[in-house]
């Protein structure tokens, strides 16, 4: 296999990795916020269910969760899996898993807000919703950004776990080329791709952090 074809193949894999990455963030960031509300709910039943969910997501390997989501509908529901289900299952498993981690980050951020901010908003006439989205949440975002950056960078590397469903993301492709070429070169190239991908992500997050540095 020529170097060019290898790069093309890995590039295609990289695109599919980026797809997993972007869709996972798109779904897990809002879902995580919702989950964090459940975690802080006054209703004990909701709180307990969410607690169990978070503890299962954080306490079991993502690779098993991928298998469970992918094969679950067949083994439990007896449903036939469609051709598009593989990718959908990957996105669901990743989003649901990352939402659990994001939820705990949101919670720590929300709980660290001084009560005075809520009280000031209340006497100034802000509704509960406005208080959260105009006053509390923007400040929470700034507080949790470093932790979120950590998770996002982990996500870049975790996309490689999709290989357990043989989805042709970059790591799966690298393994296949490596087998064909009986060489480790493709892994080196893949590592470089991951590194560059992550460097770009880290740079982007740093820019966002800087943009929020206008206040302390």
């Amino acid at each position: 296999m020529s170097f060019q074809v290898m790069m093309q193949q890995l590039g295609g894999g990289l695109l599919r990795s980026i797809e997993i990455f972007a869709l996972t963030l798109l779904f897990s960031l809002p879902l995580g916020l919702l989950v964090s509300f459940g975690r802080m709910s006054k209703n004990r039943v909701i709180r307990s269910i969410v607690w169990i969910y978070i503890s299962v997501m954080r306490g079991t390997p993502l690779m098993l969760q991928l298998l469970a989501v992918y094969f679950g509908p067949f083994y439990i529901g007896g449903l036939k899996l469609g051709a598009t289900w593989r990718f959908t299952a990957i996105i669901i498993a990743f989003s649901v898993n990352y939402a659990a981690y994001f939820a705990e980050i949101y919670r720590s951020g929300i709980e660290s807000m001084p009560p005075g901010q809520y009280e000031a908003a209340r006497v100034l006439g802000y509704s509960k919703g406005s208080t959260f989205f105009r006053i509390i949440f923007p400040q929470v975002v700034k507080r949790i950004l470093p932790s979120v950056t950590n998770e996002v960078i982990t996500l870049v590397k975790d996309t490689s776990l999709a290989f357990s469903l043989a989805y042709a993301e970059m790591f799966t492709i690298a393994k296949q080329i490596a087998a064909k070429e009986t060489s480790f070169m493709p892994f080196l190239a893949a590592a470089l791709f991951y590194y560059v991908f992550n460097a770009i992500v880290a740079f982007g997050m740093e820019r966002i952090e800087k943009a929020m540095n206008y206040y302390t």
């Binding site: 298998l67 509908p73 649901v96 009986t182």
Partner: protein
């Protein structure tokens, strides 16, 4: 196995959420000819298993087995879908109907109870690969050595307790499982493995692509490759069997085999003619 159990446990925990969010393909059970989806022949294979299934120089999936599957599709007017799978998950993929068959240097011996198999088409053997300078020349030299074997492989079944070569396996210092052959050969080179137990076709391919390895003359066994179908899917199995007979008759089988002769599948390994002949004889009785 452990993986399957754990996945099952997790399934129960997550089923509710998963089920709510899915749009499933057509629910009708197996279409005509035993295919999960009409007109599509979905072949599950390990894309890290040259020369039977792998990514070619153009980045397309090919291999001896996939080309045979392609020829079958040409006969039937089906579309071939070559679906790379994680080898550890092959049973789940087959059972759930994600793939119609496993066609990938798949050893039938010892697995007859779990799958419905086509006629065998390749005589395989499990062999031992060692580094040239290891000083290991026969199976008895493996006593106390660290031997690598792919997880969930035929070689592993052979050497494990209850396997046909369990006695030999018991003499090893350690039987080390690995995920893919690339890693295993790197370990062999680095000295953390003394030998690798492996299918002969793959061994031929791997040693041809690297310097300094050789295959022991004594093999562990002889066995056959066949196409594996979900247990009980006789309709599809019969279709493939008769197609293979046609491919043998019109020379397509030998044409394809010729391409892979240099890649680790010498013609003396082919056994389709023999097994079809044997079969014809038994039917005649």
């Amino acid at each position: 196995m452990m993986k399957k159990v754990l996945a099952g446990v997790l399934c129960t925990a997550m089923a509710v959420s998963a089920l709510g969010m899915v749009s499933f393909a057509d629910e009708t059970e197996a279409g005509s000819a035993g295919l999960a989806t009409d007109g599509k022949f979905v072949v599950g294979f390990d894309a890290e298993y040259p020369p039977y299934g792998y990514m070619d120089d153009n980045g397309d999936y090919t291999g001896f087995d996939l080309e045979l599957a392609g020829a079958v599709c040409d006969l039937e007017g089906w579309e071939l879908v070559a679906r790379p799978i994680d080898w550890d998950s092959k049973d789940m993929e087959l059972e759930s109907g994600n793939i119609d068959c496993i066609w990938n240097g798949f050893t039938m011996n010892g697995r007859e109870d779990s799958y419905t198999f086509s006629v065998p088409y390749v005589d395989n053997s499990q062999v031992i690969v060692v580094a040239d300078d290891s000083g290991i020349e026969s199976l008895s030299d493996l006593e106390g050595k660290v031997v690598g074997v792919q997880a969930d492989s035929a070689a592993l079944a052979l050497l494990e307790e209850d396997g046909d070569q369990a006695d030999l396996g018991a003499t090893f210092g350690e039987l080390q499982q690995f995920g893919d052959y690339n890693t295993a050969f790197a370990e062999l080179q680095a000295g953390s493995l003394d030998a690798v137990a492996i299918d002969v076709g793959v061994a031929n391919y791997q040693t041809a692509g690297r310097e300094g390895y050789s295959i022991l003359d004594e093999s562990l066994n002889s066995e056959q490759y066949a196409v594996g179908f979900k247990k009980g899917n006789d309709v599809l199995c019969e279709t493939i069997n008769s197609d293979l007979a046609v491919l043998l008759e019109n020379g397509t089988f030998d044409e394809i085999a010729a391409k892979y002769e240099e890649m680790g599948i010498p013609s003396d390994m082919l056994c389709l003619a023999e097994s079809l002949g044997v079969k014809a004889e038994t039917e005649a009785e």
